[in-house]
């Protein structure tokens, strides 16, 4: 077990290196530099750009720059960011928010996204499991159909529609919650609910299918035959097994929900990491793109590892890779 965890953790930096390299190549392929549009000509920005890890060429230099020279510049930037990160543990300065280091931005934005994500995740597991169990136990009845319709809406409606509807209903028509922003518990509710809806729906569907499958199995019949009350059969015996598919879905779901959804952050004005990530791409903020991509990847990989472990714990018959 320990060996398995260790091996996965050792893989982590290698995977991150590959992700970093691919991301960097992608950013470099499309032109432009983050200091474009400032009033001072590129010439005067060279020194300061270097502080931000970016190499700037004046239009004249760019004109006679060969392909090889361009990629030599990119290579220098690549090593610059990488060595700064590895040697000093420093992600550099953001060129979009010029007074902020990437670590500061992540320090401000990530906890907000994590908080919102954790809230949405708990909500979707609680509500999704409850709905799924009800739908599974009372299958093909009115409750099942209601849950199915709900799931259909939750899965198929895009977040920006759900968000807008929630806003209209609970911030305008019936002003229970503020429109957006961050800082008070009431500001967490609407984005949390919006973010949780698709996940709730998906978990509900998985739970229902799992329930239906398990309830027809032999050991459930045995449990019923020995006279256990229905609720105990479902919650004690069936639930544990029916929860497995949900568990495996939770891995990727946790990562994507925890890192927040850009759309939800945008609609509800949540200053989280999702928006920092998307905006960093449009403004070609090298340091911030790399920082957020690395954070996202780490979260994704760690979440998957935790799920693998939880899987093993829930159902010891499942062997972790490489275990005897």
């Amino acid at each position: 077990m320990t060996a398995y965890i260790l091996r996965r953790l050792i893989q982590l930096p290698l995977i991150l290196l590959v992700i970093y390299t691919v991301t960097f190549a992608l950013i470099s392929m499309h032109g432009g530099n983050p200091f474009v549009g400032d009033k001072t000509p590129a010439e005067n920005k060279k020194l300061i750009a270097e502080r931000y890890g970016v190499i700037i060429r004046s239009p004249e230099e760019l004109k006679d720059q060969t392909f090889a020279q361009r990629w030599a510049d990119n290579g220098r930037m690549y090593w610059g960011f990488l060595s700064r990160l590895v040697v000093h543990g420093d992600l550099g300065l953001s060129s979009q928010f010029e007074d902020m280091t990437v670590s500061e931005i992540i320090g401000h934005a990530l906890p907000r996204s994590l908080l919102l994500g954790a809230f949405a995740l708990c909500l979707s597991v609680l509500v999704g499991c409850t709905l799924g169990i009800l739908a599974g136990v009372y299958s093909h009845g009115p409750i099942d159909y209601l849950v199915t319709v709900y799931a259909l809406i939750g899965i198929s409606l895009p977040l920006f529609v759900i968000g807008a509807v929630l806003l209209w209903m609970f911030a305008f028509a019936w002003p229970l919650f503020p429109v957006g922003g961050w800082g008070s518990p009431s500001q967490l509710v609407l984005p949390g609910v919006a973010l949780s809806l698709p996940f709730t729906a998906y978990i509900g569907r998985l739970m229902r299918a799992g329930m239906l499958d398990v309830l027809s199995q032999d050991h459930i019949r045995t449990a019923r035959a020995k006279g256990l009350p229905g609720s105990q059969v479902v919650l004690k015996h069936a639930f544990k097994q029916a929860f497995l598919p949900v568990m495996s879905f939770l891995g990727p779901a946790t990562a994507s929900i925890l890192t927040g959804s850009f759309v939800v952050e945008q609609i509800f004005d949540v200053p989280g990491i999702g928006r920092a990530f998307v905006d960093s791409v449009t403004s070609k903020d090298y340091a911030l793109i790399l920082g957020t991509v690395l954070i996202y990847s780490t979260l994704l990989i760690v979440a998957n590892l935790i799920v693998d472990l939880a899987y093993h714990w829930l159902d010891p018959r499942i062997h972790l890779e490489g275990q005897p």
């Binding site: 032109g31 474009v36 954790a118 957006g180 518990p185």
Partner: protein, 572 residues
């Protein structure tokens, strides 16, 4: 198992909400202002964005400052100043009772320190050219650049010098401090609008002592201040407010500076500058009472609000013209646009009225001049001298067709393919579509639309790789020069490579002219060349400022620079 899950989940949620509730227990600020995008840069030497400059005027105060009601330059830290008879030397006398937020007195050296910092190339100040108006500054900047390149530059850059250039002496810049309360500045030549520049953000003072701990000396770059000096509680400022909190992308919280000399005239104890980028979200927040003031309205909403205002509703909406022009740059060195007949044909075939009434429809004014109307100055006898903006060709498809035929493209035949570049936004795209459609219909030419993200579009303009490109320009000081300067040959913003010796000569002559009326006449001639004679640009409309603020908010005036001075903003 089930119970365990439920209990954990509930505990987690409770803990999260608890954390949030505890960390956010604060009273609402006196005024909450939706400040648009998050802070780009709060360093006065480097800032150039309007929302940052607005914040800076709340935190710092210059020798002179601006009256938001009239836009007149009024005394700030300096109680008075004198100008020498030749118009070149300004002597500022500081008030006796001005203090920094930590209690230290504000001295003339604080200004010299901040101004010299603008002239340090390592800070890449967007507005260092304002500082180079000071005698000796331009040379100091150039020598500083050489010194830095020779010492910290790449091998190529170092190879340019036979021996490393010495560090230039700051004493060669004509900023002198005879004593703590006197600052003497000599300009290289008289500049009529210098007082207005002194009131601008680039000329704000800085507290050197509190910045010292953050000075970094990297081995491969000139020394610079790490950005932590700007973060509370490190930042020491001398304006009406001090920075209490800076929460990334969420807000800045300003608290009244107890040491500010004019604190009796600061009505608000706390002002919150909330960062919200999306205009629709901003409007929703304002509409549901989450904020008191809004500076950017979403396009569709502003049309509806204007309609309501016309019916006497929405007294909180304020729409007023500002000194900014929406225009199309023409790349004058790129065939076929190197032919003035082609440029003139295109300019004669833009129906600006339709654009402002049908597309933007937010109160904008169709404009054929590049300089906005309403700029003026006063001459020695105190008489007001108005600048008369010069107009380019009017909408006349018939004339446009003739010009195009004369240029060798009758009916658009043989016209090479070209594109109109714009940074992606719904409104820019609609306007561009309309303009290109009219060109196709009336002139028979095909101009492709090319929408790119701002950074990429900007780089293409910098590299002159475009034919026609959308742009907007707001002047930073109320003088026509602020518009016309950027079309001087060789200017860093002259992306369209407009290169007319006569134009350059007129600008140079105007700069040396001390009589305001004669100076304006020269600038008018220059503008005539720009928009009509040589058609280096196609102006489209004059921007409007749109503000929404509640009727109980005081201290805000509609002015053509959209200047909001936080000092006077309060609640009735």
């Amino acid at each position: 198992m089930y119970k365990f899950l439920v209990i954990t989940a509930l505990l987690v949620v409770l803990a999260l909400v608890g954390v949030l509730a505890l960390t956010s227990a604060q009273p609402r600020a006196d005024v909450v202002l939706l400040n648009g995008a998050p802070v780009k840069n709060l360093d006065p030497a480097r800032m150039s964005w309007m929302h940052d400059i607005r914040t800076a005027y709340g935190l710092w105060e210059g020798l002179l400052t601006t009256d938001p009601r009239t836009l007149a330059v009024i005394p700030g830290v300096a109680e008075r100043y004198e100008i020498s008879p030749d118009g070149r030397t300004y002597t500022f006398h500081l008030r006796a009772d001005v203090r920094w937020s930590n209690g230290d007195p504000v001295v003339s050296g604080d200004f010299r320190f901040a101004w010299l910092r603008v002239l340090d190339p390592v800070n890449a100040s967007d507005y260092y050219t304002y500082m180079t108006l000071i005698d000796g500054a331009e040379e100091y900047y150039a020598r500083m650049k050489d010194y830095q390149a020779g010492r910290w530059g790449t091998a190529d850059e170092r190879a340019k010098f036979a021996s490393p250039p010495p560090q230039p002496d700051a004493a060669t810049v004509a900023i002198r401090c005879p004593d703590d309360r006197t600052l003497e500045v000599t300009l290289a030549r008289p500049v009529a609008y210098f007082p207005e520049l002194v009131a601008f953000a680039t000329f704000l003072p800085l507290h050197a002592g509190s910045m010292q701990p953050f000075l970094e000396h990297p081995s491969n770059a000139p020394p610079y201040y790490a950005t932590d000096w700007l973060k509370p509680p490190n930042l020491v400022s001398n304006g009406p407010f001090m920075l209490e909190r800076w929460e990334f992308r969420r807000r800045l919280l300003l608290r009244r500076n107890p040491h500010y000399w004019d604190r009796e005239h600061v009505p608000s104890q706390r002002i919150e500058l909330r960062a919200t980028e999306d205009p629709s979200t901003q409007f929703c927040i304002y509409q549901t009472g989450g904020a008191d003031l809004l500076t950017t309205l979403p396009g569709d909403v502003s049309k509806e609000l204007l309609r309501l205002k016309a019916q006497g509703e929405r007294p909180d909406l304020h729409v007023f013209p500002v000194h900014g022009t929406y225009y199309y740059r023409l790349n004058c060195k790129q065939p076929p646009l190197d032919n003035v007949l082609v440029r003139r044909a295109l300019a004669s075939c833009v129906d600006r009225e339709r654009i402002v009434t049908q597309i933007t429809a937010g109160g904008q004014r169709a404009q054929r001049s590049f300089v906005t109307p309403g700029l003026f100055t006063t001459d020695a006898s105190g008489r007001r001298v108005e600048y008369r903006p010069q107009e380019g060709p009017a909408f006349d498809p018939e004339a446009a067709r003739r010009l195009l035929a004369e240029a060798g493209y009758p009916g658009g035949k043989g016209f090479p393919p070209m594109s109109l570049l714009f940074n992606t936004s719904k409104e820019h795209e609609l306007i561009a579509q309309y303009v290109c459609n009219v060109w196709r219909k009336e002139l028979g030419i095909d101009v492709r639309l090319e929408g790119l993200v701002l950074t990429v579009a900007g780089q293409r303009m910098d590299e002159h790789k475009f034919e026609i490109a959308r742009s907007g320009w707001f002047t930073d000081y109320s003088d026509p020069n602020g518009f016309l300067e950027m079309f001087r040959s060789g200017d860093g913003n002259n992306d369209g490579q407009f290169d007319v010796p006569e134009y350059d000569r007129l600008l140079a002559d105007a700069a040396a002219e001390t009589d305001p009326a004669k100076r304006f006449a020269m600038l008018e001639q220059a503008e005539k060349i720009l928009v009509d004679g040589q058609v280096g640009v196609i102006p489209v409309y004059q921007y409007v400022g749109q503000l929404l603020y509640r009727e109980n908010i005081t201290g805000i005036w509609d002015n053509p620079k959209q200047q909001i001075m936080l000092k006077g903003v309060g609640r009735k």
